[in-house]
């Protein structure tokens, strides 16, 4: 009797979960496990016959592939800049917006707007700014430093990619930080002001500790999204010149769907990306959660 009840309960549970599970298993779980398997083979994506090569792909990606090494290094540099700049700017914008009661809504609307647009569209629009608007602006104002080969020169295209990514990403984090700031009791800030704390001290010793949990989320989200950056680079430089601005995602994309069609090898690179993101985000969450408790 009890077993029948349990069976019925399981049956109902499955009836509710099955539709989601079906799609999920087909389009996420199966490709994930398939990816692990293919990463151990020399499959070229077309040929039904392929050989098991063990960890050869991983060894090749990590030791014999300068383009992948460059992409990993370039991505890490990008991630580092993004984590610091994106969160700092988002907090700055959030604090400034929160301090102005009247124009709050207008500025929030403006700063979030890029987030509504695809980074492909935004990237193309920025390309227009970099290639046509800035040179003319430089000519008219004499600010010659604006007139660079933003797209063609790799040392500047790194900054171009950064600018576009920040432009598109700051608004999202700003929304999170504004929500966190609204949770900071104003009595604390008033008490600090009475004690003679300046703007910086109030921020450093009152506001920042109070929004620390949001910082954990903000850095987590930035890490997660910037390791996977694709659209902004694709639209702006396409990874060029040469492969100078190629990020990991673009490197994997070209390996699989470009000329070489090395699906197995590209799968191994994708697994390496997964492991890098996994390890770094777990370490980040561990470290920051620990400080959250102390703070």
């Amino acid at each position: 009797m009890i077993d029948r009840l349990r069976l019925k309960r399981h049956g109902i549970l499955l009836a509710f979960v099955l539709p989601a599970l079906l799609f999920y298993a087909t389009f996420l779980l199966a490709p994930a496990f398939g990816g692990i398997w293919y990463s151990l083979t020399d499959w070229n994506g077309l040929n039904p016959l392929y050989a098991f090569v063990g960890l050869d792909n991983y060894a090749e990606a990590l030791t014999e592939d300068p383009s992948f090494g460059h992409a990993v290094f370039f991505t890490l540099k990008y991630v580092l800049f993004m984590v610091v700049l994106q969160n700092a700017l988002a907090i700055l914008v959030a604090v400034l917006i929160e301090s102005r009661a009247k124009t709050k809504a207008v500025f929030r609307t403006i700063f979030f707007m890029p987030n509504m647009l695809s980074m492909i569209i935004g990237g193309f629009m920025w390309m227009f700014v970099f290639t046509r608007v800035l040179p003319e602006l430089a000519m008219r104002t004499g600010l010659t430093f604006l007139d660079r080969s933003w797209i063609g020169d790799p040392s500047f295209s790194f900054y171009a990619i950064l600018i576009v990514s920040l432009w598109g990403g700051v608004g999202y984090l700003m929304v999170i930080y504004i929500a966190a700031l609204q949770g900071v009791p104003s009595s604390l800030k008033e008490a600090a002001a009475i004690d003679g704390a300046g703007v910086w001290h109030t921020f450093r010793y009152i506001t920042l500790p109070m929004i620390y949990p949001a910082l954990t989320i903000g850095i987590f989200l930035t890490l997660n999204s910037s390791f996977k950056v694709f659209d902004a680079v694709f639209a702006l430089t396409g990874g060029g010149p040469g492969r100078e601005t190629q990020v990991i995602a673009l490197n994997i994309f070209e390996e699989a769907f470009g000329f070489s069609n090395r699906y197995g090898y590209a799968s191994a690179k994708a697994m390496i990306l997964f492991l890098i993101v996994l390890v770094i985000t777990i370490v980040q969450l561990r470290l920051m959660k620990r400080r959250e408790v102390e703070a």
Partner: protein, 263 residues
């Protein structure tokens, strides 16, 4: 400082819109200046070249299929998983949630293969179905958390009144899930509408292209030499989103904040 930031934020959009009504010749006379005559023909041109109505329809179809599936299936699963104690439901819930860590790039290669085999590659509806699979995890997580705030007494009262399991869900629970459904819908609609890589991999025929793919193709054809045609198409592509944003911004911003904090 805020004003400088806001100006910087609006700069590419303003420049894009301003120059989208100039001919290439007039652009040479001044990128920054106000157009002397409006070259609306750029828009007529772009409208044709990106097949605007069809691309817009394709994007809407993908988003609608994905959204309907994600909301319905995730609400069902999230609700029942939250209400059922036990090992099986705990296992299923962790299975959904843990995979949120898997980056898309790690699965895309095999996903293309699977989509080909199942013949869902190449169609907008097929693409929508794939989004269901990729999107249900986070939605289930959000629904699962929200359901805890709905008193169980409600379920019991409805059962005593003679409600079956499915009627209970559809006529009692689902309407109560509206706030979290709004968040789920906003987050997922934005993601699917603006996603580029998956459509690029899945949609092989120009007739099924989304707005982003059509615009990208235009760019591929002309490079960055013919800005007057390209800018008009970029403005056309971003118009629907901006209009929607200005109309619904209160819900969108709240939805983003809720999603980030609970997700």
């Amino acid at each position: 400082m805020l004003i400088v930031g806001a100006a910087f934020t609006l700069l590419p959009i303003y420049m894009g819109v301003l120059n989208s009504v100039k001919t290439e010749g007039e652009m040479l006379n001044g990128i920054l200046s106000w157009p002397r005559h409006f070259a609306w023909s750029n828009y007529a041109d772009a409208y044709r070249k990106i097949d605007f109505l069809r691309s817009l329809g394709n994007t809407a179809a993908v988003t609608a299929v994905g959204l309907a599936g994600i909301v319905l299936f995730a609400a069902m699963a999230g609700y029942k998983l939250s209400r059922t104690p036990g090992k099986l439901s705990g296992f299923l819930f962790s299975l959904f949630v843990l995979s949120m860590l898997i980056p898309f790039h790690s699965i895309m290669i095999t996903l293309v293969r699977i989509a080909k085999n199942l013949a869902v590659q190449g169609s907008t509806v097929g693409l929508g179905l794939i989004y269901i699979g990729l999107g249900v995890s986070m939605a289930i997580f959000l629904y699962h958390g929200f359901v805890k705030s709905i008193p169980r007494d409600l379920d019991e009262a409805a059962v005593i009144d003679g409600c079956g399991e499915f009627r209970l869900f559809f006529s009692v629970i689902l309407p109560l899930l509206l706030p979290v459904t709004a968040t789920v819908a906003i987050l997922n609609a934005l993601w699917m509408w603006n996603d580029f890589l998956l459509p690029l991999l899945m949609l092989t025929d120009a007739s099924s292209y989304t707005l982003l793919l059509s615009t990208n193709m235009l760019f591929g054809q002309y490079g960055n030499n013919d800005w007057s045609a390209i800018l008009a198409s970029l403005v056309l592509a971003l118009l629907p989103v901006v209009v929607l944003y200005l109309l619904l911004q209160k819900y969108i911003l709240n939805g983003i904040a809720d999603g980030a904090i609970k997700g």
